[in-house]
């Protein structure tokens, strides 16, 4: 009997305890990512964010009579790049369909989407949760138009509609129901966002609504068949995704354990209350009357076009992580932190180039990221450039300054700027490694403190006091290792 037929045993740490025993939560995600492009999927209008309402609306976006969609080549390229980044199959023939429903922010009365034949087929995303690496299946990626935005709070009797978003290209990325905990779901969307940002195919900005997820949640007893799922619509932060799943799984478990049944339905997550609530049942679901859009011919791609895009892809986070570990000797944890955002990884690489990778990583992660976080700055807003931080690392490596001085130096560069080597030189911050000078200082301290010398002989940990005194008298510039060694010898410890 093939061992592959036996379902993988659920990891106990992912199980949720209920009154009748443990439960397993099964999660699948449909992520909508706005395609990074200058113009919309089927019109030349700008996709710029934050413009005056209805200022980025062409005749096509407003669905004027006789207007026709013309596909934006760059959006197609972006979808293919994303597919390649997800190690997915690229479909050389795909079809745009109409999804029909009425709503004032949907001017055409249909959304142009891809239904049966999406541009990208099966792929996968690797995530790491609690030290465990998991491959999460991606079922498909398709392109579709975004709708406009209805504003219900502008007038007592009417709703307003802003069509700026109408027709903006979205990629819907559908996962397999492979996720088994809220943590995994969060890791999945985090990783997906990282990949999108590396590729430059979406800015993944959840605050602007440029990345949002529909989360499908069901529960079952380990080993049982899949339970009835509920879809939580449009969750727009990673934290909320976690909360929504936790709440929804518990809600479903409670219903089943109370003898109830789960109704397949669409739910909303109320972030203020931290709960999900019913939006519409399966019976109320729209019949979208999908059919191929007769205004658009099937999209036919050449393998050549796909290959060209593939050859232009940047290094992706998984590859970069592996390379950082191999080339710079970093730990998996440090590598993860550094590759999470491409600008951070690029910054690190500039600092680490030709230098001690571990030392560079230490300074980038602990000093730089710490300070940036504290001030709420992004890496590209850092007052300390990668070249400057590299200069600091150089000074440490050459023993020109101690680690402690280096922190002072970092502070100076952060607030005042300047060339680190020059600052060290002009401000006399250079470490004293001249043993003669250190000996002289040590002798002076010993001579001035005979009582302490006696105490030290009885209690060797007193050495720390002497080190402090020497450092003080040398203005912190003495090489601490040399100070220790000389003190030990002179005190006979």
């Amino acid at each position: 009997m093939s061992s592959q037929k036996i379902a993988e045993k659920p990891k106990s740490k992912n199980l949720i305890a209920g009154a009748t025993g443990d439960w397993e939560v099964v999660i699948g995600m449909e992520v909508h990512a706005q395609v990074a492009s200058k113009s919309k999927l089927f019109s030349g209008s700008s996709t710029g964010f934050g413009a005056e309402p209805n200022s980025h609306v062409s005749l096509v976006d407003a669905a004027m009579p006789g207007m026709l969609p013309v596909i934006n080549r760059e959006c197609i390229a972006q979808a293919i790049r994303t597919g390649l980044g997800l190690k997915a199959e690229i479909n050389l023939r795909s079809v745009f369909d109409r999804k029909n429903y009425f709503y004032p922010d949907l001017p055409q009365g249909y959304q142009i989407s891809q239904y049966k034949q999406p541009i990208v087929g099966e792929g996968e995303i690797e995530i790491e949760v609690d030290g465990e690496t998991l491959k999460i299946g991606v079922e498909r990626l398709h392109l579709e138009q975004d709708a406009g935005k209805s504003l219900h709070d502008q007038h007592p009797d009417y709703s307003y509609v802003d069509l700026n978003r109408s027709g903006v290209a979205l990629m819907e990325i559908v996962s397999r129901p492979d996720l088994r905990s809220s943590k995994q779901a969060q890791a999945y969307i985090t990783k997906l966002r990282t990949i999108l940002r590396y590729l430059g195919t979406s800015d993944g900005d959840m605050e602007k609504g440029n990345l949002r997820a529909d989360v499908n949640v069901s529960v079952r007893k380990p080993g049982d068949k899949l339970g009835t799922r509920c879809e939580i619509k449009n969750v727009n932060s990673i934290r909320f995704i976690g909360q929504a799943i936790e709440y929804e799984a518990r809600r479903q478990i409670d219903i089943i354990e109370d003898g109830g049944k789960i109704n397949q339905e669409t739910r909303l997550f109320d972030a203020a209350k931290g709960e999900t609530r019913s939006m519409r049942s399966k019976e109320e679901a729209h019949d979208y009357r999908y059919f191929p859009d007769p205004d658009l011919l099937p999209l036919e791609l050449t393998q050549n076009f796909v290959d060209e895009l593939a050859s232009g892809l940047p290094e992706l986070p998984d590859e970069k992580r592996a390379r950082f570990m191999k080339t710079f000797g970093l730990s998996g944890y440090d590598a993860d932190v550094l590759v999470a955002e491409r600008p951070s990884a690029d910054y690190f690489e500039t600092v680490a180039k030709g230098r001690d990778g571990k030392l560079a990583a230490n300074w980038v992660i602990n000093e730089l990221f710490g300070r940036l976080n504290k001030e709420g700055k992004a890496i590209d807003e850092s007052p300390v450039s990668a070249a400057q931080l590299g200069g600091i690392v150089d000074l440490i490596s050459s023993n020109a300054i101690s680690g402690k001085i280096a922190k002072d130096l970092f502070e100076i560069v952060w607030t005042e700027g300047g060339d680190p080597a020059e600052i060290v030189e002009t401000r006399g911050m250079k470490q004293v490694t001249d043993t003669g000078a250190i000996e002289k200082a040590v002798d002076a301290i010993i001579a001035a403190n005979p009582d302490k010398v006696e105490q030290a002989k009885a209690k060797p940990s007193m050495l720390g006091w002497f080190v402090g005194q020497v450092m003080k008298s040398t203005g912190g510039k003495a090489n601490p290792a040399a100070v220790n060694e000389i003190l030990k010898a002179k005190l006979g410890l």
Partner: protein, 499 residues
């Protein structure tokens, strides 16, 4: 001076060239005939005399400077399905109200760029849905033709001009314009042309841009002209056709000089006669018309071959699934939210329902309902998908036929023009008007109707030519042979001009 409105487009072109008259004189003649004759015919739903005179003056200047373009100074009518910049466009539906598009259709722009003059907007069936021009929100168009009664005397029965381009066919036949734009989704150019003794061509799907034409069924809609003669048709199509980057279904193929093809004759041309078009109950006069066409072509050197297009019988039912399906989606944009009619209700759904109930006529609502039904979950495979498969088979029938013939000859319609109300109560009888024409749209092929004779009632009948994709040239040269043999069929009595 002769009545300028009676000229063909080619004759008017020659007259302008020779400076026998000016573009303004020509235009004024048509403006006068519209003023006098349109109230009886209702062919124009909007007349734009000021616009036309301004264009005419500009044309005269160009002619004077020796810079005349191919259609310089030639006044035409424009079907109200074509969006006209700043000029009311309604598709003859209440739902568009007084909509004035801020853009010009590509086909329209091509015509104005070629020097043509627009006299106004022409009536049509609402959203081009109809075969008799009875569904227009502006009321029906009356054909300039009158039929004989059983006693052989001319009656005053009001005959239909065909549809949906009934305004176009009536206006051209009644000399209210030199030529007209039209659109054809299932026969809407060819059937009205046949019923009015005019020439109509629906070119290959993709030959003319659909941009700026109010959509009915996107995969079938195609623009073309209705004209007095085959030569005029060639002139008009040459100007209308173009590859348009704004319509991705338009085809990037060179547009030949169709007029040059007219004199090529049909010697050696293989003409196919599809046996499936000999439908049950075909009238003797239609059969005779068809036989006449065969003899004329044979006499001109063509060879005649019986062919089989076995899936023909499925074309009409499949068409009445595909076209309504696309229409149900295409017309969703008329929701009262952004332009056109809005009838407010208690809430959003109420507003939608009020607006669409008040804005759409009965036939349009019928087709939206059919289309919504055939696309519904559980029915899609049985109806829409199956209809699309039929469509593939119909195309294959023709692909097969092109191995043995160069052009296909059939009647255009199963019967001559009928009177108002004779078929409007029976949608099925009305749909059967398209029986010979829909196959051509389903296969995306070019089709052309040429006047070929008169019925026993003294009203016109047309023959249809079907060609290979993008081979409109063969249609033109064959049509010229038929026209030469059959003669032209002007309306005998201009009763509508008598007030």
């Amino acid at each position: 001076m002769t009545d300028l409105t009676k000229l063909t487009m080619a004759e008017a072109r020659d007259g302008l060239k020779k400076k026998s008259f000016s573009a303004l004189e020509l235009t004024d003649a048509f403006i006068a005939s519209i003023e006098k004759g349109n109230s009886a015919l209702n062919a124009f739903v909007l007349s734009t005399p000021e616009h036309a005179r301004a264009q005419a003056k500009a044309s005269d200047q160009r002619i004077g400077e020796g810079k005349a373009r191919p259609l310089e100074g030639l006044p035409i009518g424009n079907k109200d399905l074509f969006c006209t910049n700043g000029i009311r466009t309604t598709a003859c539906s209440k739902i568009l109200g007084d909509f004035k598009p801020p853009y010009e259709s590509t086909v329209g722009q091509n015509l104005w760029d070629a020097g043509a003059i627009m006299l106004g907007k022409l009536n049509n069936d609402e959203f081009a849905m109809g075969s008799s021009n009875e569904t227009s929100a502006f009321g029906n168009v009356v054909s300039p033709w009158r039929r004989k009664g059983p006693d052989g005397k001319i009656t005053t029965d009001k005959l239909v001009p065909g549809g949906s381009s009934g305004g176009s066919s009536a206006a051209v036949a009644a000399h209210l314009c030199l030529a007209a734009t039209a659109t054809d989704t299932g026969g809407s150019i060819r059937q009205p042309a046949a019923l009015t003794g005019t020439v109509g061509i629906k070119p290959t799907y993709g030959r003319c841009s659909r941009w700026g034409i109010v959509a009915f069924a996107s995969s079938l809609d195609q623009a073309g002209p209705i004209t007095k003669t085959v030569r005029d048709s060639a002139m008009m199509l040459k100007a209308m056709a173009s590859h348009d980057p704004k319509d991705t279904t338009s085809v990037d193929a060179p547009v030949p000089d169709y007029e040059a093809a007219l004199s090529k004759g049909v010697k050696g041309l293989r003409v196919g006669i599809p046996k499936e078009y000999r439908v049950d109950g075909m009238s003797a006069e239609i059969q005779k018309l068809w036989d006449d066409g065969i003899s004329w072509l044979k006499a001109a050197g063509a060879t005649i071959h019986e062919i089989s297009l076995p899936h023909t019988k499925y074309a009409l039912p499949a068409y009445y699934i595909v076209a309504p399906a696309e229409c149900s989606s295409n017309l969703a944009r008329y929701d009262g939210m952004r332009y056109g009619l809005r009838v407010n209700g208690d809430d959003l759904i109420d507003t939608y329902e009020n607006t669409r109930a008040a804005g759409f006529g009965k036939e349009v609502r019928r087709r939206i309902l059919i289309g919504t039904y055939v696309l519904s979950a559980g029915y899609y495979d049985a109806y829409y998908l199956k209809a699309q498969k039929v469509r593939t088979l119909i195309k294959r029938d023709f692909d097969e036929a092109w191995n043995s013939v160069d052009v296909v000859l059939t009647p255009t319609t199963p019967s001559p023009a009928f009177a108002f109300g004779e078929k409007s109560g029976d949608p099925l009888a009305m749909y059967l008007e398209d029986i010979f024409t829909v196959t051509v749209n389903m296969a995306g092929l070019p089709g052309m109707s040429v006047p070929a004779g008169l019925s026993s009632q003294g009203t016109p009948l047309g023959l249809q030519l079907i060609g290979k994709p993008f081979d409109e040239e063969t249609l033109f040269r064959t049509a010229q042979v038929i026209e030469d043999a059959a003669g032209r069929f002007p309306v005998p009595d201009a009763w509508w001009m008598k007030g």
